[in-house]
């Protein structure tokens, strides 16, 4: 062990400084115990970052361990930069989702942009070429001008970054609910394609191998707020120390090409993004995975500004940087590849046999931790979990006790209200700002049930989707967790894909509050049940806690990113009605539930009742039946029934594609035991609207799988109406009105003057 002493000028370690670094007294004592001495300021900074929730998962690890993570085709499960599954033909798919909620709340444009950049790097550091981006976004009500500012800033940030790097943004979801007013959720998912033999892991190996910093220089961006604690900081110097990270998609593109070339070259043994907690966490994690020691000299790290302290260099979150372990003697070859892309690489340390994590500043040792305990010895908590009685009461409330509004006498009115609810309405306003066709693989882009990308050189395609209904999870976290997985699986299956595996992003409130921890525990348990039943293991993900504002926590929102595989391009299926005269069938039961529905929220302003039941075995049977029918060639279209219920799903089948509108005639009049509004707008799970030229075959396949299936109507290509016959009444909705409600709502709202506009809002920078 080395002699580690404070640097001249380091602040004294005081209880206040410890608290500002987010460490509890017990955690600090644990640190002192590990070191056998008082930590230096630099060491305190390192531990503060590594033991943060973001890096350590200290509140979620025990829970996450309960999730299934294996399948014969899983090549890489949780614990790496991204999960990887094999799709045959020697090819594999790498994918991961991550949150950038807090940065996006502060500066929506850069926050979202750097979120996209980070997740791209996580995927290409596995040796995969990114082929698609998805985004799962949650905002408050669009009536709030600040929400419009956040929404447009986030969308522009996602677009500018992904568009410039040249990765198509193909799918996702956007939900608007007051629960997210002060705390938007911005989750980005990236999917990449690789040859199995190119898979590389971020595992430091080989004593004597050089550690290199690659890509952009290190500045003072994004340094943990705690770094502002040093005593000599005045307000003036604070202004010089920006915390916000700025993304440079141009450098990212170069880094992407250079990294893939590096991985192919065989000159390196490991590569990892310097993401959250920058150099510190990337180097510590690579050392831990390889069970080796590392030493890093911060004076060798290329910096953007002079006078940066070891603390700042270690904790900087400057973007577009990589940490690489090269093979000894190949340093120049590595530099050569980077130079081709106008990037630089500097040797900043090496892999050592001695089991320590050591940071030097020239000859002076400024931080040293024993072995891999830096990562493995972080605390782990299982706080109290207790359901909020207020939420339990809400769940127990009977939605059918809410009387219908007078306008509801005409269900067409209700339907239009729902189609123009921003959560349901077309999000084309957003995704028209995303390049969705670059790289020429996009078969189904934004707006479909899931996006579909062909896999060049094969007859296969992959389907991808993110999903989560936070309202359900709020009302019943276990059921909501199940539904999030099941809905993502259904969406993927509707395109003809077999659901394969998931990544997840757990967006929750403060876990030290028992009611939040209860939600986390229960939601993950529900996810696990669904993943096991559907055979879709978890290959990784991200946890974002403390999503709270003075007005409370966000809805617990475990976003599921699902990847599915389509074995034959001819199986690719679209959501909208395709052929005149096709029979319309409902796979699954009509249901009749209303709890937690968009109908209650939009029409009655209520969030209550039990969310719809979710029987995961039945979901599995439903998906199997659908896929069998698709493979049999008897399915013209398939669309998942979700927010807004059957009436909204049918409307979307008719009008979601403005280029191919169809009318339809539906008869549900035999279901007299159910309320009309529950038939139309209830959100019972496990239902898919299918159109088919051979309905008997579909019914036969469903019957064999034990899945209810009823013929409910037919497609009328030339009709300009959606007509639905109900037990107690009938409704006729002119398609023109449905189209207006669905397609024109969000553009209309966003055309309102943004009261909180910035100049950028009026003249976007770097938008091409």
């Amino acid at each position: 062990m080395s002699d580690v002493r404070p640097r001249p000028g380091d602040p004294v370690i005081t209880p206040a400084l410890i608290a500002e670094h987010g460490l509890t007294k017990q955690e600090y004592e644990r640190l002192v115990g590990m070191l056998g001495r008082t930590p230096t300021f630099t060491e305190l900074g390192i531990i503060s970052a590594l033991w943060s929730e973001h890096c350590s998962y200290k509140h979620s690890r025990p829970i996450l361990k309960t999730l299934p993570t294996t399948a014969p085709y899983v090549l890489q499960g949780p614990g790496e930069n991204a999960g990887v599954i094999s799709i045959g033909d020697g090819l594999a798919v790498a994918f991961k989702i991550e949150s950038h909620n807090h940065p996006s709340a502060v500066e929506p444009y850069q926050g979202a942009a750097t979120g996209v950049g980070g997740i791209l790097r996580d995927v290409f550091t596995m040796g995969a070429r990114p082929i698609a981006m998805l985004n799962s976004l949650r905002f408050g009500s669009l009536d709030d001008p600040r929400v419009r500012y956040l929404f447009s800033g986030v969308v522009r940030g996602i677009g500018d970054y992904g568009n410039c790097v040249g990765i198509p943004t193909v799918a996702g979801e956007i939900v608007f609910d007051p629960a997210y007013a002060n705390n938007p959720l911005v989750n980005a998912m990236c999917v990449g394609l690789l040859h199995e033999e190119d898979l590389i892991r971020a595992k430091a190996e080989g004593v004597g191998n050089p550690i290199m910093a690659v890509g952009a220089r290190t500045g003072r961006d994004g340094i943990h707020g705690a770094s502002f604690a040093s005593e000599d900081l005045s307000e003036a110097s604070d202004a010089k120390r920006p915390r916000i990270q700025v993304g440079d998609p141009f450098t990212e593109k170069l880094l992407l090409e250079a990294s893939l070339e590096l991985i192919k070259s065989g000159h390196i043994v490991a590569i990892q993004d310097m993401g959250a907690a920058g150099l510190t966490s990337s180097s510590a994690e690579m050392a831990e995975r390889g069970d080796v020691g590392v030493t890093i000299d911060v004076t060798k790290v290329p910096t953007r500004e002079s006078g940066m302290s070891p603390y700042e260099i270690l904790l900087s979150e400057s973007q577009e940087r990589m940490l690489v372990v090269a093979k000894k003697g190949r340093e120049d070859a590595v530099r050569g590849i980077l130079a081709k892309w106008d990037l630089t690489a500097a040797v900043i340390g090496e892999v050592i046999a001695e089991p320590v994590y050591r940071v030097t500043e020239g000859d002076r040792v400024v931080a040293e931790f024993p072995g891999s305990r830096l990562v493995t010895d972080c605390p782990s908590y299982s706080p109290d979990a207790r359901e909020s009685s207020a939420i339990a009461d809400l769940r127990a409330a009977d939605p059918f006790a809410i009387p219908e509004r007078p306008e509801e006498r005409d269900p067409a009115w209700t339907l239009e209200q729902l189609l123009s609810a921003p959560t349901i309405a077309s999000k084309a306003w957003a995704y028209r700002q995303y390049d969705s066709t670059v790289r020429t693989n996009t078969v189904i882009g934004p707006g479909g049930d899931a996006a579909v990308l062909r896999v060049r050189g094969t007859n296969k395609a992959i389907a991808v989707k993110t999903d989560c209904n936070g309202r359900y999870v709020y009302l019943d976290p276990r059921v909501g967790g199940r539904i999030a997985v099941a809905e993502a699986a259904r969406n993927v299956a509707c395109t003809g894909a077999r659901p394969m595996a998931i990544t997840n992003c757990l967006n929750f409130g403060n876990p030290t509050r028992p009611e939040v921890f209860y939600q986390l525990k229960e939601a993950v348990a529900g996810m696990g049940e669904a993943c096991r039943a559907l055979g879709t293991p978890v290959t990784g993900g991200n946890v974002s806690l403390y999503n709270e504002s003075p007005s409370g926590a966000v809805y617990p929102t475990p976003v599921i990113g699902m990847v599915g595989l389509i074995d034959d391009l001819s199986h690719i299926t679209r959501a909208t009605f395709q052929r005149d005269g096709d029979a319309i069938l409902l796979l699954g039961e009509l249901g009749g539930e209303l709890g937690g529905s968009e109908y209650l929220a939009t029409i009655h302003g209520k969030v209550l009742g039990a969310p719809p039941r979710c029987d995961v075995e039945r979901e599995k049977a439903l998906i199997d039946a659908l896929l069998e029918a698709i493979r049999a060639g008897v399915v013209s279209s398939a669309h998942d029934c979700s927010d807004g219920g059957l009436a909204v799903a049918l409307s979307e089948c008719c009008i979601a594609n403005p280029e191919g509108v169809s009318g339809a005639e539906i008869d549900l009049s035999s279901h007299s035991a159910l309320q009309d509004r529950a038939i139309l707008f209830g959100e019972s799970q496990g239902r898919i609207v299918v159109s088919s030229p051979a309905p008997e075959r579909v019914i036969e396949i469903a019957a064999k799988a034990g899945v209810p299936c009823a013929r409910i109507g037919r497609v009328l290509r030339e009709s300009d109406t959606l007509a639905i016959k109900l037990p107690k009444r009938s409704m006729r909705s002119p398609l023109a009105r449905l189209r207006r409600a669905y397609h024109e709502t969000i553009p209309g709202i966003m055309a309102r003057t943004p009261e909180h506009a910035t100049f950028d809002e009026l003249a976007p920078v770097a938008a091409h």
């Binding site: 568009n163 995704y431 020429t440 062909r454």
Partner: protein, 230 residues
């Protein structure tokens, strides 16, 4: 026939152009590195889409100073075919291979959508397999696609039949609604005085497969083949 596809730092449609030429057209293609001075015997040059040099300062402004652009300019001057798509169109304008400029879209937003364009001149080396007035479907994806030029230049372009494509609706009418970026006179693509440099904002290389939505771009590439081979 050999196609040379220029890769600038930040190009991101070079791969799509390469695939279209090799996979769909079945011709030879090679990437031309921006730092090189060698067209490697390419008979047709494609300036692909993307964000060359991040498009910082102005779209295409920095790319035109690349070493390879000197060779591309010489190739164009000698009558060699050059196809500039999206960012490539911007670069061709900045480099003076085509008149006018491309400015920020009128609505100030990036636009990614399938558009329809009407073939205005089917007598060029890039459009000879189309019919005049034919409506093509192709994706656009750009933030700076609003074509502008001085009135005199526009008149000249009109008079000489150098407006090759205009944004149109499904019925072929040239309306403001069909114009995704506010381009003057709905201009989607123009050709040089010599008829050998075509610049266009829509992406023909992304419209080469019915599976992906449209194969209307294939004939553009085939037109070059037909004309140059003849």
């Amino acid at each position: 026939m050999k196609f040379g596809i220029v890769t600038f730092p930040g190009s991101n449609c070079d791969y799509d152009a390469f695939q279209a030429v090799t996979d769909i057209l079945g011709e030879e293609a090679t990437y031309l590195w921006h730092k090189d001075h060698d067209l490697q015997g390419s008979e047709v040059i494609i300036l692909p889409g993307g964000f060359s040099y991040g498009d910082y300062l102005r779209a295409g402004a920095i790319a035109r100073f690349s070493p390879i652009m000197q060779e591309v300019a010489a190739h164009a001057k000698a009558g060699g075919p050059v196809l500039g798509i999206c960012n490539g169109f911007q670069i061709a304008c900045e480099a003076g291979l085509l008149p006018g400029a491309l400015m920020r879209n009128l609505h100030l937003q990036f636009v990614s959508a399938e558009v329809r364009i009407r073939v205005e001149n089917s007598d060029t080396m890039f459009t000879n397999l189309y019919d005049r007035g034919e409506i093509l479907r192709m994706p656009v994806a750009h933030g700076d696609g609003r074509y502008v030029a001085p009135a005199g230049v526009l008149e000249e372009l009109e008079a000489e039949g150098r407006i090759v494509f205009r944004y149109a609706d499904a019925n072929g009418s040239i309306s403001a609604d069909a114009n995704p970026n506010g381009s003057e006179r709905n201009i989607a693509g123009i050709i040089s005085e010599g008829g050998n440099v075509l610049g266009m904002m829509p992406h023909p290389e992304r419209a080469c497969s019915a599976l992906l939505g449209s194969s209307d771009g294939v004939r553009l590439l085939e037109s070059i083949l037909a004309r140059v081979a003849a």
